[in-house]
Symmetry: C2
Subunit: 243 residues, 2 copies
C-alpha cells in the first residue's frame, strides 16, 4: 500500500509520500513515490504514485524521459509543451491509459495492474494547481473548497486534516499537519512506511529544491511524533469521562 | 455504512455503535445496531451489527426470539443454552449462515447481502469475552494482545485507539476513547451518523443497564467534541514546524 498527500494553498503546494512497496508481507521494499518531472524557471511539475509499482514506474519513467531537455519535441508524454497544468494532467492520464493498454491484459491474471497519481505544480502564467489522476486516467482538481487530495491508504490520516487544515494554514504548518497525517497512518497500517518525502513548493518560486526526506531517526520527525503522542495523551486524559 | 467498536478490558466490556443506515445517499435512516440478546443474572449477551440491514435484522431477530424466556428450548439460535461465549459466537455464525443460505441468491443481483457482527458478553463461570463474526460465519476473539475489535467503517477511528487505549485503561476512560473514536469517524465519513449507543458492562455485574444513547445535542458529547477539537488544535499549533 501507499499513502500520498497533496495540499493546495494560496501560498503554495505541500506534497508528501511514504516509501513502502509491498507485494505480500514477504516482499517489501523502499521506493520513491514522489518524483520531480520537470523543474525549470517556467514550470515545476511533481508526481506522486500509488498502485501497481510496474505500472507507476512505467508511467513516471516515460513522462520523465519524454520531458528531458534533449528529448524530441512533441512526443505524447512531453511535459515541456503543455501551457497549463490541466494539460499536464491530461498527458499523465493519457500515459497511464497507454501503459494499461500495453500491459493490463498480461498483468491482470497475477494481480491488479491499476495505478493512480497526484500531480501538482505550476506553469508560468497560472497559479499552482493540484490534480488527482484516477486509475481510469480521468482526474479531478483540488480547489479552495477541497484543498487536499489523497491516494492510497487515505483514511487513517484524514481526521487530523479534516480538523486542522484550512486555506488559511501557512505552508510550514501545512507541512507539519502532513507529517502528523503520515504519523497516524504509519501507526495504524504496516503497509505504509518511512521514509517520508516532503516537497514544499512556494507559489511563483519555480524551484523544487525544498524537498526533504524524513527517516526513522530524523530528529525533528522523532520529536514531532513524541510530542504529539504525549500531548494527545495528556489532552485525552484531561477530558471528562462520560457520566 | 456503519461503525461498531468493542473493547475488552480486565474490568469489563465497552461496546458502541452508530445508527446510520443508508442504501444510497437518498435513502438514509436511523437504526439500532446494538442489541441486548439476553440479560439475566447468569448471562449478558450483546450484539453489534454491520452490513446488509435485512440480513442483520433477520439474524438478530431470530436470535432474540429463540432466546426469549418462553421460547422452546434448544432451537438453533437459543442463547440460553450455550455454556460459554465461544458457543454463543458459534451460534451467531450459524444463524448468519442460515440467513445467507436462505436469502443470498435472491439478494445478490440487487446488492451485497453480507453482514458481520461483534458479540460480547459474559456467562457465569467465565470472564467477559468479545468476538468478531465475519461475513463467512467464522470468527475471531479479542484478547489481551488485541483488546479492541471494529466492524464497518473502521479506519478513521482507529488511530486514537492505537495511541491511547491499553489493557490498563479503566472503563470510563475507555468509554471516552470510544466516543472520541466515533467523533473522528463522524467527522470524516457521512455514512456514519448519530446517535451513538454505548454499553458499559462491568465484569461480573450481569447487568446490561448501563446503556447510554448520545444524540447530537447531548451536553456531555457536545462538550467532549468541542474540548477535544479545541485541545487538538492548540496541541498542533504548539508543535514546532519542520525546519
Amino acid at each position: 500500500m501507499t499513502y500520498c498527500l497533496g495540499i493546495l494553498l494560496p501560498t503554495g503546494l505541500v506534497l508528501a509520500s511514504d516509501s513502502r512497496s509491498n507485494a505480500g508481507v514477504d516482499q517489501v521494499a523502499k521506493v520513491r513515490k514522489l518524483e520531480i518531472l520537470r523543474a525549470t524557471d517556467e514550470r515545476v511539475i511533481a508526481i506522486l504514485s500509488a498502485g501497481n509499482l510496474a505500472t507507476t514506474q512505467s508511467v513516471v519513467t516515460a513522462l520523465k524521459e519524454a520531458s528531458q531537455d534533449d528529448a524530441p519535441q512533441g512526443s505524447p508524454g512531453d511535459l515541456r509543451a503543455p501551457k497549463t497544468m490541466f494539460e499536464v494532467a491530461l498527458a499523465v492520464g493519457s500515459m497511464l491509459r497507454q501503459v494499461e493498454d500495453h500491459d493490463a491484459k498480461y498483468v491482470t491474471p497475477f494481480g491488479d495492474p491499476s495505478a493512480s497519481f497526484l500531480v501538482g505544480g505550476q506553469i508560468k502564467g497560472e497559479a499552482p494547481r493540484l490534480f488527482q489522476i484516477y486509475s481510469a486516467g480521468n482526474f479531478v482538481e483540488a480547489s479552495a473548497r477541497s484543498c487536499f487530495l489523497q491516494i492510497g491508504e487515505t483514511k487513517y490520516g484524514k481526521p487530523i486534516l479534516d480538523r486542522a487544515l484550512s486555506l488559511g494554514t501557512d505552508m510550514r504548518e501545512a507541512a507539519k499537519l502532513a507529517l502528523l497525517s503520515f504519523d497516524a497512518t504509519l501507526r495504524s497500517n504496516l503497509s505504509v512506511g518511512l521514509p517520508i518525502d516532503l516537497l514544499r513548493y512556494p507559489v511563483d518560486s519555480f524551484s523544487a529544491d525544498d524537498l526533504q526526506t524524513f527517516e526513522e531517526h530524523d530528529p525533528y520527525f522523532r520529536e514531532l511524533r513524541r510530542a504529539y503522542a504525549e500531548g494527545l495523551n495528556a489532552l485525552v486524559n484531561g477530558l471528562p469521562a462520560p457520566p
